[in-house]
Subunit: 360 residues, 2 copies
C-alpha cells in the first residue's frame, strides 16, 4: 500500500447533521479544515447555526431541502439525524465522511490525537476481505499479511465501500442497555480494522462513518424517522442492513474498527426508549428478512438493487406495520431524487466497480 | 459472567506434539503445572523425550499409538504435528488445550505475562455470537455489551466450541509469505476476542488452540499429513474447515483473538514450501467445497456430521487427487477409533448442547 495517505481534499465531503452551533468543530480544526463541510440543519429552519470561522461549508435547512427536492422532500426525515442523508445526495464528491456533533477527537494509547478521517481514508483506499476471514485482521495493514491457509486467489480482496469507525467513552448502546448500565464507558482501544464477512449483518452506526459515494451512495438512505414517524434511532441501522445486503450482492466490502472518536455525552435513555420502542420489536423480524434477502443477478447497479429491496420491503415487512409500505415508497422516492441530483451517478458507480481493488 | 475464572483443573488436558525435550515447559510452569499433559511423541519412538520435573503427564510414542489403535492407527499421521489429534482422542476430559513446543509466554502491553490458558477457558466458558456481528467485539467481556441494533433475541448467543488464540513475534505465514517477508514480526497486540460469523470459514491454526471436546472433539481430526502423504502443514486447516462447517450446522460458536502466545522461531520456509506445495493449489478448490457444504438436518451429532462430510469429501474432492479418497476413508477410521475409545462420547455431546449457553 501507499506509505503516505492521500488527503483526498477535493474528493471528500464531511456531512454533519445538527440542531446547534458547531463549536465541536474547533477541536477537529487541524483535521477537518482542508475539507468541504455539508451541514444539514435539522429542526426549526429560522434558527441560525454558527459555524466556527475558517471552515468551508454549505448549509441546508428544511426550507432548502423542500425547495431543492420539491414533493420528493418527503423522503427526508425531519427532527431526526436521519436527515443527514440529504447531504450525501447533494454532495458531488466521491467520498463522504459523516460525524455527529457530540463526537470529539479521541486519543490513541500513546496519548496522541487520532486523525479519524485519515484512518477512514486508509480504510476506504485499501481492499476488504469479505470472502474469507483473516485471523490477523486487516491483511493490507503495515506489518500484517494474510495468514497461512488464506487462499491466494482471494488475496486481491474486494473494493471497500464503507468504513465504520468506533467510539471511545460513551458506547453506542440502545435505551434498555443505557438504562441498565448508565455508568458503562468504553475504554478499550482495540487496534484493529476488519472486514465484516459476506453474508453477515452488522449494526451500522452513523456517528463516525465513511463511505465511497460512487460505489454505494444510493444505498445510504437513512429512512423515515423522527417527526410524524413511529420510530427513531434506527436510521443508520436501516441504512446498514440495506447497504450490507447490496455490498454482498455487488462484491463490495465493509470494514469496521479503527478509527475511534470520543463520544462525549450519552443521549437521554428515556427519550431514546420512546424512539426505539417499536424498533426493538420490529428488528426481530426485520433482521431475519435482511438475512434471507437475495437480489437477482440482473441487479448490477446500486440503484437497481435498492429498488428491488424496496419491493421486497413492501411485500414482506408491511405485515409488521403499515409504516413499511410508506418506507418502501420513500425508498423509491429517495432513488428518484438521487438520480435527479446525480444524473451520471449510475454510470460512475459502474465504472468504479469495474476498476477493481487496489493491488497490494 | 463469573468474576473469577474457574481453573478447570480436572476438566482440561494440555496436548503437546513434539520430537524433542520439553524444555519450553519451564516457562509455562506457573500456568500449566496444575494440569495434566498428554504428550504425543512424533518420529523415532526409541528416542527419549525429557519432561521437566513436577509435571503430571502421559506420553505416547508411535509404538503406543499402534498398540492402542491397532490397524486404525493408520488414520494418525506420522512425522507431522498432525499426530497431536491422537491426544484429543485418548483424553477423557471435557476441554483440550493444544500448544506447539516453540511457543512461549507472551507479554501484554503492560509487560505482564499472559496466562494464555486462563483466557482460553474464559473464551470457552462464555457464549459466542455467530448469528450477528457485534461491532464492539465480545459483548460478554467486562466493560462491553451488545451495541444498539443487536437483536435482543440473539443475545443469549451460542455455546462456544473453539477458542483460537493468536501469536506475537513470528506470525503464522505460509511458505511463500515467509520467503517474501523473512523479517516480518507481529508486534500488534489487538485486545479483542470475537466470534467468527456463521457461514464464514477461517484458517484455524493449531499452535495455540483450545476446544470443548464434548461439543466438537470428533471434528478435530488433523488429517493425513507428513510421512507417506503428498501434503503437510494443512492439518490444522483441514480440522478448521470441517469444524467450522459442523459448528455452523449444530449452532456452536468459534472465537478468535486473545490470548497471544510468543512464537519463537519461524520454521524453514524451504522445507515448508515442499510440504505446502500441493495444499496451495488444492485449497483453491477445497475452500469453495467447504463454503458450499451443507449437512442434512438429520445429522445431530458431531460424529454423524463428520461421517456425512467424509462422504462429500470422497465424492467431490477425489477428482483433485486420489489422496482425498484416502483422506475420506481416514476420516471414517478416525470416527470409528474415537467411538471405540470414547464409548459414551456421543451421548455426552448431545447433553452439552442441550445445556445451552451460559446466561450473562
Amino acid at each position: 500500500m501507499a506509505a503516505a495517505t492521500p488527503l483526498l481534499k477535493d474528493e471528500l465531503d464531511i456531512v454533519i447533521p445538527t440542531i446547534r452551533n458547531l463549536d465541536f468543530l474547533e477541536m477537529w480544526r487541524p483535521f477537518f479544515q482542508p475539507y468541504h463541510l455539508i451541514i444539514v440543519q435539522d429542526g426549526d429552519p429560522s434558527k441560525t447555526i454558527k459555524v466556527p470561522e475558517g471552515f468551508d461549508y454549505e448549509l441546508y435547512n428544511r426550507n432548502d431541502i423542500n425547495r431543492i427536492l420539491g414533493p420528493k422532500a418527503s423522503c427526508i426525515s425531519f427532527k431526526d439525524s436521519a436527515c443527514r442523508c440529504f447531504g450525501y445526495m447533494v454532495s458531488k464528491k466521491k467520498y463522504i465522511y459523516t460525524i455527529d456533533d457530540d463526537c470529539f477527537v479521541a486519543k490513541d494509547p500513546s496519548g496522541k490525537d487520532i486523525n479519524a478521517l485519515e484512518q477512514h481514508i486508509k480504510n476506504l483506499l485499501c481492499p476488504s476481505t469479505p470472502h474469507f476471514f483473516n485471523t490477523l485482521y486487516d491483511p493490507y495493514r503495515d506489518g500484517a499479511d494474510f495468514v497461512r491457509g488464506y487462499p491466494f486467489s482471494m488475496r486481491e480482496g474486494a473494493p471497500t465501500a464503507v468504513s465504520h469507525g468506533l467510539w471511545l467513552n460513551i458506547p453506542d448502546y440502545d435505551a434498555p442497555t443505557q438504562l441498565v448500565k448508565p455508568h458503562e464507558r468504553n475504554t478499550r482501544y482495540v487496534d484493529a480494522v476488519m472486514t465484516i464477512p459476506k453474508g453477515t449483518l452488522f449494526p451500522m452506526c452513523g456517528m463516525n462513518l465513511a463511505f465511497d459515494r460512487d460505489l454505494i451512495g444510493p444505498a445510504m438512505y437513512f429512512g423515515l424517522m423522527g417527526d410524524g414517524q413511529p420510530i427513531g434511532r434506527y436510521d443508520d441501522m436501516w441504512a446498514g442492513w440495506c447497504t450490507k445486503v447490496i455490498c454482498d450482492h455487488l462484491g463490495l466490502g465493509i470494514k469496521t474498527g479503527l478509527p475511534y472518536i470520543w463520544h462525549s455525552k450519552a443521549s437521554n435513555p428515556f427519550v431514546n426508549l420512546k424512539k426505539e420502542y417499536n424498533g426493538i420489536f420490529w428488528q426481530e423480524e426485520i433482521i431475519p428478512f435482511f438475512q434471507a434477502a437475495t437480489l437477482p443477478k440482473e441487479c448490477t447497479t446500486v440503484q437497481q438493487c435498492y429498488l428491488e429491496l424496496s419491493k421486497q420491503v413492501k411485500e414482506k415487512l408491511s405485515m409488521i406495520d403499515p409504516y413499511f409500505t410508506k418506507l418502501g415508497d420513500a425508498m423509491v422516492t429517495w432513488i428518484e431524487a438521487w438520480d435527479e441530483l446525480n444524473p451520471t451517478g449510475d454510470h460512475l458507480a459502474k465504472l468504479s466497480i469495474a476498476d477493481g481493488p487496489a493491488k497490494k
